[in-house]
């Protein structure tokens, strides 16, 4: 580190000359950055941090939206209007499979970023593909569940409970579907553009999104399915 910050190094000269505003120019010598965070004198954070943190804020707002759906479900779970209750529409083996598929996909997503850090295009693609296929299996199982319920006349219009059930579970399924499209886009970008910095920033964001979806699913399988069966 100390070599880089010496004013006489080529890097430092280039950095000062190329950027007239010296944006993000780190202090050096005794005035240099201190261990820890939030030191304004070290200049703005790098793009990698700004992008990741901005996406983190988006994810938290997304989770707040999910919390509204969770609150609706919690309030309406007993309002079955004489229709089926949660215990009557839940198929535990299917929920177990869905949970397994999503958890495994979260795992392979983490592995894909490990491969990204090792700059291995092949393994990044392999693990992203496995992640996408597991996500597809999850969406397919959920779709099948919805279709089979609809075939028995169990639709969102039937009762307040079913409205909130299809709303919450469907919103999550929609998120997984959109994330799957993003995943396919990222695979194409990694293939064609390689590990450029902005591509790695996008991969970081995609990883965050996929893991956040798994966290929301933990809430769904616990509150909607498991607690629905035991209640």
């Amino acid at each position: 580190m100390s070599q880089v910050d010496l004013p006489a190094t080529i890097d430092a000269i280039r950095r000062v000359r190329e950027d007239p505003h010296r944006l993000g120019h780190r202090g050096h010598g005794p005035e240099g950055p201190v261990v820890g965070a939030g030191h304004g004198r070290t200049g703005p954070a790098s793009k990698r941090i700004v992008v990741g943190y901005g996406f983190w804020i988006f994810l938290l707002s997304d989770i707040i939206m999910f919390s509204c759906f969770f609150a609706t479900f919690a309030v309406l779970r007993g309002s079955t209007a004489g229709g089926p209750t949660a215990a009557q529409i839940v198929e535990m083996p299917r929920v177990g499979l869905e949970t397994g598929a999503l958890l495994l996909s979260s795992y392979t997503c983490g592995l894909s970023f490990a491969a990204t850090n090792a700059r291995s295009k092949l393994w990044t693609q392999v693990f992203l593909l496995v992640t996408g296929l597991l996500g597809l299996a999850f969406v397919a199982m959920e779709l099948q569940e919805f279709i089979s319920l609809a075939g028995r006349g169990i639709t969102p219009q039937r009762s307040g409970f079913l409205t909130s059930f299809f709303g919450l579970v469907g919103l999550h399924g929609l998120h997984v579907t959109v994330a799957g499209m993003w995943l396919a886009t990222m695979m194409a970008q990694v293939q064609l553009k390689g590990f450029r910095r902005e591509i790695i920033h996008r991969l970081i964001c995609f990883n965050l999104f996929w893991h956040a979806l798994d966290i929301v699913w933990i809430g769904i399988f616990t509150i909607v399915y498991l607690m629905g069966v035991t209640a």
Binding site: M1, V4, D11, R15, D19, L23, G24, P33, V34, V35, G36, A37, G38, G43, S46, K47, R48, I49, V51, G52, Y53, F55, W56, I57, L60, S61, I64, S67, F70, A71, A74, V75, M92, G96, L103, S106, Y107, C109, G110, L111, F113, A114, A115, N117, S120, R197, E198, C205, L208, H211, D214, I215, I218, F221, T222, I223, L226, V229, T230, A231
Partner: protein
């Protein structure tokens, strides 16, 4: 993208350990570290998920306590995901991430607990539906 922007990767070839870090990102770049984290996350998650599914279908613990146990297991698994998959740590480079997360959790808590609380009281204080119907006649 411009190469003029300061990025520790560009100038030193590795992440600056003194900088802040966004969630999902860490100064440690070796693949082994990331694979280990994923393995630990998967292991803990499988144990917690299996425990939740087992408890929901068995009479191992007292009936009314099952929902509480399920919620505790769910929160534990969310913690596991945050630590091992999202790489949120307690270090000084993660202060901003943790503060934003804490605010998010506060809002989620207010929305969920507030809704249940208010609607519960509303249900209690509201006239039963059949009487309401009688009044309208």
């Amino acid at each position: 993208m411009s190469n003029l922007e300061y990025d520790p990767h560009l100038y030193t070839g590795n992440l600056d350990h003194r900088e802040d870090h966004a969630p999902g990102d860490e100064p440690e770049e070796s693949a082994g570290h990331w694979v280990l984290n994923s393995n630990l996350g998967l292991g803990f998650s499988i144990v917690l998920t299996a425990a939740a599914f087992y408890l929901a279908g068995s009479h191992l613990i007292w009936g009314p306590a099952v929902p509480v146990a399920l919620i505790v297991l769910a929160i534990a698994q969310m913690g596991v995901h945050l630590v091992y998959f999202l790489h949120v740590t307690t270090g000084p480079d993660n202060t901003n991430n943790v503060l934003a997360l804490a605010f998010g959790i506060l809002v989620v808590f207010l929305i969920v607990a507030g809704s249940i609380w208010i609607m519960g009281h509303l249900n209690q204080n509201m006239m039963p539906m059949d009487q309401l119907m009688d009044m309208r006649r």
